[in-house]
C-alpha cells in the first residue's frame, strides 16, 4: 500500500487551482509533474554545484562531473543496463533520431514499425526510407488495440534491418509483449535490430533491458518525474561504436586537427556539446524517487486507478473506451458518442480536470479507428480515486451541457 497523502504532499503543483477548482492532473502521458526532491535537486545544483563538466581541474567542475557520471550509473541500474550503455540525449525523440541517423544499414532496407507508434517513432524512419530508398512496413493491430504479432513475422524479409516498436502505446495504454516479440524477431534473423520506445513504459513499470534483449531502448526524463530536456538512449554493448555520428562537437574527441579527428569511444562520442547537466542530475533523483516508492507499487497503484476509472466510464452512456479490455498501463482513451473530444476537454478543464484531447501524435492510429482524436486520461503515482470521482462527475456534467 502506498501513502497517497504523503506522496501528494511532495508535488507542489497539486495545490494549484484551475477556474476555482482543485487541479486534477490526468495528462501524465504528455508530461508528469515533479516531486520536491527533483525540484530541490535543481535548486541545489544551481545554488551549490553548477559547473561545466568533463574537463575542469577545479573542484566545482570535478564535483559536477561526478554528479553527472553517477547519474549515469543510477539511470543504468534503473533499467538494468551497464553504465557504458547509457547515452544522455535531449529526449525520446532525440534518441530515436540518433539511432535512425546512425545505423549503418544498406540502402533499400526495410524498417518495420507498428500502427500504434507515436510520430516520433515513425517520422525518423520515414525520413530514412525517403532518403535511402527504404521501405516502411507496418505491423497491423486488432480493434482491441493489440498487435497482430503473427503478421509481423510475415512482414520480415531478408531486407528487414530494424523493428521499431513502442513498449506501451501512449494513446491506448496497451502494453506490447516486447520480450516475446524480440525473441521471435531474433529467431527469424539475429541481425535485425530492435528499438523499443519506452517513453510510456519506464514511468509505469519495472524495466529490464538485459532480459528484454532489445538493441536500443529509449525514453524521456520529463515523463517520469524528471526535468524537461533530457532523455536516454540505451545501446546494447558492442553496438555503440558502430553507430555513425549525426551530431558532433566539443567533448567527443581525443584529438582534433583540420585534417583528422580522433573520437573517443563510448557514450561521450554521442554527447557533443555541454549536456543538460541539471536535468540529468534531476533524472537520477527521479529514479531514486520512483525506487523509494517501489516501481512495482507504482504499477499496482496506477493499475487500481485504471480499473476503477474504466468501470466508472463504462457506466456512462455513449462512452466508448478504446482497447478497453486489453493489458494496459494507466492510460485510458475514449470518446463520447456525438461529442467532439475538444468540446469535452474544454469543459473538463473548466472543472479543473486536465486531460488531453487530440490525436496524441498518433495520427495513423486515429486513421485506423477512423476518428479525429480521443479523450485521454493518463495517471501517475500521485493520482487518487477521489480525483477520478471528480473527473467522472465533471464528465457527466460536461456531456449534459453539450447535449
Amino acid at each position: 500500500m502506498i501513502d497517497s497523502k504523503h506522496i501528494r504532499e511532495q508535488f507542489p503543483i497539486l495545490n494549484k487551482r484551475i477556474n476555482n477548482n482543485s487541479l486534477v492532473y490526468f495528462d501524465n502521458g504528455a508530461t508528469t509533474q515533479k516531486p520536491k526532491v527533483v525540484i530541490d535537486s535543481v535548486v541545489k545544483y544551481y545554488s551549490e554545484q553548477n559547473a561545466n563538466i568533463h574537463r575542469g581541474v577545479h573542484t566545482l567542475s570535478r564535483e559536477a562531473t561526478e554528479l553527472f557520471e553517477s547519474a549515469r550509473q543510477t539511470v543504468s541500474s534503473f533499467i538494468n543496463s551497464k553504465t557504458e550503455e547509457i547515452i544522455f540525449t535531449s529526449g525520446t525523440t532525440d534518441s530515436i533520431n540518433i539511432v535512425a541517423n546512425g545505423l549503418d544499414i544498406p540502402k533499400g532496407s526495410e524498417i518495420i514499425v507498428s500502427q500504434m507508434e507515436h510520430h516520433s517513432n515513425i517520422l525518423p524512419w520515414q525520413l530514412w526510407c525517403e532518403r535511402n530508398n527504404g521501405k516502411l512496413k507496418v505491423i497491423p493491430i486488432n480493434r482491441d488495440g493489440t498487435l497482430q504479432i503473427k503478421k509481423l513475422e510475415s512482414l520480415i524479409t531478408h531486407n528487414t534491418a530494424v523493428v521499431a516498436l513502442t513498449h506501451v502505446s501512449n494513446t491506448l495504454g496497451v502494453i506490447n509483449p516486447v520480450n516475446e516479440i524480440i525473441q521471435k524477431v531474433k529467431a527469424i534473423d539475429q541481425r535485425i535490430l530492435v528499438l523499443i520506445d519506452g517513453a510510456q513504459s519506464v514511468p509505469h513499470m519495472s524495466i529490464d533491458v538485459k532480459n528484454m534483449d532489445c538493441d536500443f531502448f529509449v525514453f524521456s526524463g520529463h515523463k517520469m518525474y524528471a526535468p524537461t530536456g533530457c532523455g536516454v538512449l540505451y545501446v546494447k554493448k558492442g553496438l555503440m561504436d558502430q553507430l555513425k555520428l549525426s551530431k558532433t562537437g566539443g567533448g567527443t574527441i581525443k584529438t582534433v586537427s583540420f585534417e583528422r579527428t580522433e573520437y573517443v569511444n563510448g557514450p561521450l562520442r554521442f554527447e557533443a556539446g555541454t549536456p543538460n547537466i541539471e536535468a540529468v542530475v534531476g533524472l537520477a533523483k527521479a529514479c531514486e524517487f520512483m525506487n523509494s516508492i517501489g516501481v512495482n507499487n507504482i504499477s499496482e497503484h496506477e493499475h487500481s486507478l485504471l480499473v476503477y476509472a474504466q468501470n466508472e466510464l463504462r457506466a456512462i452512456e455513449g462512452v466508448e473506451i478504446y482497447a478497453d479490455h486489453s493489458n494496459k498501463a494507466a492510460v485510458i482513451s475514449f470518446n463520447v458518442k456525438g461529442q467532439h473530444p475538444f468540446d469535452v476537454g474544454t469543459l473538463l478543464d473548466k472543472y479543473g480536470v486536465a486531460i488531453r484531447t487530440d490525436h496524441h501524435c498518433t495520427q495513423p492510429l486515429m486513421n485506423y479507428y477512423g476518428i479525429q482524436g480521443t479523450i485521454r486520461a493518463s495517471f501517475a503515482i500521485y493520482n487518487v480515486k477521489e480525483e477520478i470521482d471528480i473527473f467522472i462527475e465533471a464528465l457527466k456534467k460536461g456531456i449534459k451541457l453539450l447535449s
Binding site: 467532439h340 475538444f342 469543459l347 451541457l401
Partner: protein, 138 residues
C-alpha cells in the same frame, strides 16, 4: 447596427450569467447549434481552417459592399465562438471588420478561446475573415 453596438449587445447578453460559467457555456453551445450552417458545397479544402484539434469551414461573400460569412465547425464550442464572430461581422464593411478589436470576447470571459496558443484555430479564423473581407472589397 455597428460592430460596436452588436458587441455591446452580446456583452449584455452574457452579463446576466455573472460568474456562472456553466450558464455561459450553455448559451455559447446554444449559439453554436443555431449557427446557420454553411452550404455543403462550400465545405471545401480551401475553406477549411485547421486548428490542431477542431476545424472550421468559412465561406465569405460580398453583397452591396457588405461582407457576409457562413461557417461551420466540428466542435460545438468552437462553433459557438464562430457564431458570435459572424453575428458581429455580418453585413459590415470590410474596413470596419479589419479594424475590429473584438474586445467583447475578453469582456464576456471567453478570452482564452482567442489565445494564439489555443488549439482550435479561432484566431486563424478571425485573421482569415479579415483577409477575406479585404480581398472581396477590392
Amino acid at each position: 447596427m455597428s460592430i460596436e453596438e452588436i458587441e455591446n449587445e452580446i456583452i449584455q447578453e452574457f452579463e446576466i450569467f455573472g460568474d456562472d460559467w456553466e450558464g455561459k457555456y450553455e448559451h455559447l453551445i446554444d449559439l453554436g447549434k443555431s449557427l446557420p450552417i454553411i452550404n455543403q458545397e462550400n465545405k471545401t479544402e480551401e475553406n477549411i481552417i485547421k486548428g490542431c484539434q477542431s476545424r472550421v469551414w468559412l465561406n465569405s461573400a460580398i453583397k452591396n459592399g457588405k461582407i457576409f460569412f457562413t461557417a461551420d465547425s466540428d466542435a460545438i464550442i468552437t462553433k459557438g465562438m464562430v457564431a458570435l464572430m459572424i453575428r458581429v461581422f455580418n453585413g459590415q464593411s470590410a474596413k470596419d471588420i479589419v479594424e475590429a478589436k473584438l474586445e467583447f470576447i475578453n469582456k464576456i470571459g471567453l478570452k482564452e478561446h482567442l489565445s494564439p496558443t489555443r488549439a482550435n484555430g479561432l484566431l486563424s479564423m478571425v485573421n482569415r475573415m479579415k483577409l477575406d473581407a479585404i480581398k472581396l472589397s477590392q
